[in-house]
């Protein structure tokens, strides 16, 4: 186990714990820069992971750090996407200006949702954001002049300062830059007074208020910041999918975004990125498994005779080819994570790291909750 001695305030204030950690992140960035050369076929998919990463970051700030659960983040993504496309295509504004305006508009929408949210707690807020998202989806479908209505709206490739980002490789680096930038911004924000106030609100609203945290200001700020991040992600998402239609931004997308933060690990920026990777990889794994599992089962049962193995092949194949299987599998993963690993992938990663750091002395109880009791939200 390594012990850290800090000898100056500079070390205390640094973004990274020590030079080792910093070097690891620099190495990771380097790896991501050469990644498209290694996996040229997956460049487009990996840029989608980066976009999901920004979405995860946005929801992590709100749900993971401020404790406000939103089931309406697909609406913010949609507002960002439609606003950006409207400004960049219909009004012909430059890309950067258009994205900035999209951010401002989504942040304003965030404030509009956040303001009534100040007076609501827990599940009321979740349901209010859900209602907001359903209304916004209807607006996307009806406001033909701006959104193209149900017919949808095509999106061009991005061009910054006259440089076209039409190729997948260029778009990859654009998304990477945005993700790195937003990560850096969020990490800094979270260790400032604002971030600490958010965490205080998450842990106990009443305690935070007693310590002088202005709930109204900080909750609205969390909503606005989260929505603004979603706005950037929406702009990139629009370019990525190339075509906007109202039913993309459905409740299911909101749920998928929440799944991302839960599976990744609530309350950690790593978790947002892990979750994004997970959500992006999962469909690929499922479709791979659909092709290979029946043959695998048949091979495993081969010693029992061809009849059994053929029968099993047919049965398993019919089962895995069911169209309804995938959402159920997502649901199952969600349920298993909540029941058995509430801290998500990041929690598992932290446990494994601690196991090796403390090698022979690791105790499982380190991460176990001392006491699970019912925390009542009732007033009487």
């Amino acid at each position: 186990m390594r012990f850290l001695f800090k000898t100056s305030y500079g070390q205390e204030l640094g973004l990274f714990r020590d030079s080792v950690q910093r070097n690891w992140y620099v190495a990771l960035l380097g790896a991501l820069i050469v990644l498209p050369r290694v996996l040229p076929d997956y460049t487009g998919d990996i840029s989608l992971v980066f976009i999901y990463g920004v979405c995860g970051l946005s929801l992590m700030v709100l749900a993971g750090y401020t404790g406000l659960v939103s089931l309406g983040h697909a609406a913010f993504l949609g507002i960002g996407a439609y606003a950006h496309v409207f400004f960049a295509h219909d009004l012909g504004l430059p890309w950067v200006v258009s994205v900035a305006l999209a951010c401002v508009i989504t942040a304003a929408a965030g404030v509009v949702v956040g303001l009534p949210a100040l007076r609501m707690t827990g599940v009321y807020l979740t349901i209010a954001t859900l209602a907001f998202a359903l209304i916004i989806q209807e607006v996307f479908a009806r406001w033909d002049r701006v959104t193209g209505g149900l017919k949808g709206k095509p999106v061009d490739k991005p061009a910054l300062f006259g440089v076209s980002f039409a190729s997948e490789l260029a778009f990859y680096f654009l998304c990477l830059a945005v993700l790195a930038g937003t990560l850096w911004l969020t990490a800094n924000l979270l260790r400032s007074a604002t971030g600490r106030a958010w965490v205080a609100i998450r842990d106990s609203e009443i305690a935070a208020q007693s310590m002088g945290v202005n709930l109204a200001v900080y909750k609205t700020m969390a909503f606005a910041y989260s929505a603004a991040l979603m706005g950037i992600a929406g702009a990139l998402f629009a370019h990525k999918i190339g075509f906007l239609a109202p039913d993309i931004f459905s409740v299911l997308l909101s749920i998928q975004l929440l799944l991302m933060v839960v599976v990744g690990g609530l309350g950690s920026l790593h978790g947002a990125v892990f979750g994004a990777v997970f959500v992006a990889i999962l469909p690929v794994v499922i479709s791979q498994a659909r092709d290979s599992v029946p043959a695998f089962v048949a091979a495993a049962l081969a010693p029992l005779g061809t009849g059994v193995s053929h029968g099993a092949f047919g049965m398993v194949e019919r089962f895995v080819k069911q169209p309804g299987l995938e959402p159920g599998l997502l649901g199952l993963i969600l349920v298993l994570f909540i029941l058995f690993e509430p801290l998500g992938i990041y929690g598992r990663w932290a446990k494994i790291k601690l196991y090796f750091a403390l090698f022979p002395l690791y105790k499982r109880a380190t991460f176990r909750r001392q006491k699970a009791y019912m925390r009542s939200e009732r007033l009487r």
């Binding site: 007076r119 979740t126 929440l258 839960v262 169209p323 959402p327 649901g331 349920v335 909540i338 699970a372």
Partner: protein, 293 residues
């Protein structure tokens, strides 16, 4: 058809639709009052109820009433099992975990339904199907009447059960104060499972009543979203509130669909919900106050 007749017709249909919302909302409220869990899978339990009844009636040729009873029993039992195996583990965890857990369960149920019964759209034949009586200028469809009568009867039964039976009173005690109830010798865990069973059974009843009006398909459960509006409107912890909220949402929806421009019908419930929450964050019937430290 005069204006008055139109209004009366809308009121009748709105009340019928509202009864369904009210029943689903009732399911939310029963569980929330007892365990402080919010069950996002309530709509999907409704869907399961409708499918189970459909399966018995159409696949196995069981009579409508027997299939109705079987659907209630099976879904109710399933609710109790769900509580005993899964949901009991998350009591005391943050609200967020419960929301995500039940959303995940809902997805599993939908997936299960589409794999078992297929993703086509079905109609459930009932004794009331496609029959109507004309009263003056108003067409009284028997399906709607069955919904309203069913809801009234169910409310009466539930009211009697919770007020006059020993188990019902024990359940009330368990949901008011777990610890005190436990000290009085009430098996709190079993009571909670029973409440889940009742709540799931109510959802199944709503599903079977709804089935002839709205067709059965895997996404029937999304009606749960509107029932949320109903439950919140009534202030999540109040049983009469849930029913009143449901009726309100049903009426608003039908009137908005007729008198407001196209597209308002689907979102009217949510607009009202947001307005109510902005003005009265605890719902119309909810208790106002702050948590004491």
């Amino acid at each position: 058809m005069g204006t008055l007749d139109t209004v009366l017709q809308l009121v009748l249909n709105g009340l019928a639709v509202g009864c369904i919302y009210g029943l689903v909302a009732l399911g939310f409220v029963l569980i929330y009052k007892a365990t402080e869990l919010v069950n996002f899978a309530q709509g999907d339990l409704l869907m399961l109820g409708a499918f189970v009844c459909y399966m018995f009636v159409v696949w196995y040729g069981v009579g409508y009433w027997a299939a109705f009873a079987l659907a209630i029993a099976i879904v109710g039992l399933f609710g109790a099992l769900l509580d005993a195996t899964v949901l009991r583990r998350v009591i005391g965890q943050p609200q967020f975990a419960v929301v995500m857990l039940t959303i995940g369960l809902g997805a599993i149920f939908r997936s299960f339904a589409s794999m078992t019964w297929g993703s086509e759209i079905y109609t459930l034949p009932t004794p009331f199907s496609a029959k109507a009586t004309r009263l003056g200028g108003v067409t009284v469809s028997h399906e709607y009447v069955s919904i309203i009568v069913g809801t009234v009867v169910l409310c009466g039964v539930l009211y009697t059960f919770f007020t006059y039976t020993k188990v019902g009173v024990a359940m009330q005690a368990a949901s008011q104060n777990q610890l005190a109830a436990y000290y009085m010798g009430i098996p709190v865990k079993r009571m909670f499972s029973l409440i889940w069973a009742i709540s799931a059974g109510v959802a199944a009843i709503a599903g079977v009543l709804l089935a002839p009006v709205s067709l059965i398909d895997v996404n029937l459960g999304f009606i749960g979203l509107k029932a949320f509006a109903a439950a919140v409107l009534g202030g999540f912890g109040s049983i009469p509130g849930a029913l009143v909220g449901g009726l309100t949402i049903g009426l608003i929806e039908l009137f908005a669909g007729t008198y407001l421009p196209h597209g308002f019908k689907d979102v009217a419930a949510y607009v009202v919900l947001l307005l109510v929450l902005a003005v009265r964050p605890q719902g119309i019937f909810g208790a106002i106050g702050r948590k004491k430290v």
